[in-house]
Amino acid sequence: MKGLLLKDLYIAKSNILVIIGSLIVLGFGLSVLIEASALLVLAPPCATTAVFISITSDANSKWNKNVITMPVSRSQIIGEKFILFIILSVLGIMAALIPCGVLAIFGAEMSLASLLLYGSIGVSAALFAGCFSLPCAYFFDPDKSQIVFLMSFLASTGIIVALVLLINLFIPVKGNILLPFNIVLIIAAIFFFISHKIAVMAYQEKDIT
């Protein structure tokens, strides 16, 4: 699996660097208008776009066919993309934390609660988007999966709002805002895990031509 990850990091390297650079610049730029920690909402979904660049590259070069003949299992092939997705989400968070940290040193107001809140919203959005779009990337053609990829971010926003409203019925969100979003994050992680299992199961039987 290490080889597969290395291959994807080579493919997405320039894209990852551009996204990380943009997030850092955006963080400093936005700090004039809003709290820089709000960037944590955007960072994970933006950073994970590189996964789809690697999936598209695999499809274009017919790597998907070649890799099946190599000593890696189908579950490792799928699992690697899910792991890459998580690594990129974490990289996105870290990139967004750089301007936050620098601005905090220079006296900008920033609370740990807001960092955790925006961070959990960002990671939840990325995980929900990934749990729809990653399996689809292996079962639809590249054009359709790009549409699914774009739609999945809209869907993930909708799901987060719906979940928060649902949680609000049991735990009042006002005055206790961090807990509902942490619950959403846990649900997103569970969905992401289930999505991985479903993708692995479906891919085992798929004919690759």
Partner: protein, 283 residues
């Protein structure tokens, strides 16, 4: 003699095509050529052998194992039409990737092959010609101690000089009697040069699986007119084809036929001609 690959009664059904009980084997130390027109079932057979597609029925064994596990995959080198490697990578980066995929990856062999084929290690694969990409794919296939090479239309679209280089390399590979090759191609002249056995697939079925020498040294074509054709013993005819000015009849023993029909013109048959007669001829 052990078989590197055994395929028995392999069946795969699609909406518009059936691979029907395909059986043949690749003995260790030999080159087996898989021939047939486009859409005959060559790639479907190879894809099933490599576990790319699920078979409906039949038995496939590679290196004596029915299950295609990672240890077995380590010993199989595969070359498809095109390089099938991410074009953004360079051969040097591909080396690092492969080193982390194959336990038996031999960096020294890989770098030597790159040098032998004059492939630039730092140039992106996207800038390679088709011939260079093919040589790169073969270099990868030969750099993890493969015992079985499987090439699916690997020489199609290449110029004769590069094809000849590749054929020489394949011949070198089977000098070690533990090594074997299954090569599918519709360039039958290439297979005539290197193959020990020929498997001919037509409309999803194996028409024949024979030693190449038997085909080229024993098979023949009787070229005659209508009267002579009518006089032939029909049990001698494998297939026949009526051309504009003559009849062409494929026979399995040309010397015997020459003795039996001394006035007939019996000529040796190339694999191309045998394939054409089977596909376009009548029985």
């Amino acid at each position: 003699m052990n078989n590197a690959l055994t395929i028995s009664e392999l069946t795969k059904t699609y909406k518009d095509f059936v691979l029907d009980k395909v059986s043949f084997s690749v003995p260790e130390g030999s080159i087996v050529g898989l021939i047939g027109e486009n859409g005959a079932g060559k790639s479907t057979t190879i894809n099933a052998a490599l576990g790319l597609i699920q078979k409906d029925a039949g038995y496939i064994s590679i290196m004596g194992k029915e299950e295609l596990d990672n240890d077995t995959k380590e010993q199989i080198g595969v070359v498809f039409d095109g390089s099938n490697y991410p074009e953004i990578l360079s051969p040097k980066r591909l080396n690092r990737v492969m080193k982390n995929i194959y336990h038996s990856w031999d960096e020294h062999t890989y770098m030597s092959l790159l040098q032998k084929f004059s492939l630039p290690a730092d140039k992106q694969i996207s800038q390679f010609s088709k011939g260079m990409k093919m040589k790169l794919a073969i270099s990868v296939a030969l750099s993890h101690n493969s015992k079985l090479l499987i090439l699916d239309e690997a020489t199609s679209g290449l110029d004769p000089v590069i094809r000849d280089d590749i054929l020489d390399m394949l011949l070198d590979f089977v000098q070690d009697e533990e090594h074997s090759i299954l090569v599918s191609s519709h360039i039958t002249s290439d297979l005539e040069k290197i193959a020990d056995y020929i498997v001919f697939i037509h409309e999803g079925q194996v028409v024949f699986f024979k030693p190449k020498d038997e085909l080229t040294e024993q098979y023949g074509i009787i070229k005659c007119g209508a009267a002579q054709f009518d006089a032939l013993d029909k049990s001698d005819i494998i297939v026949y084809r009526k051309m504009d000015y003559e009849w062409q009849i494929l026979v399995s023993d040309r010397e015997e036929m020459q003795r039996k029909y001394p006035k007939a013109m019996v000529v040796p048959a190339t694999i191309d001609e045998i394939m054409l007669l089977y596909v376009k001829g009548e029985r």
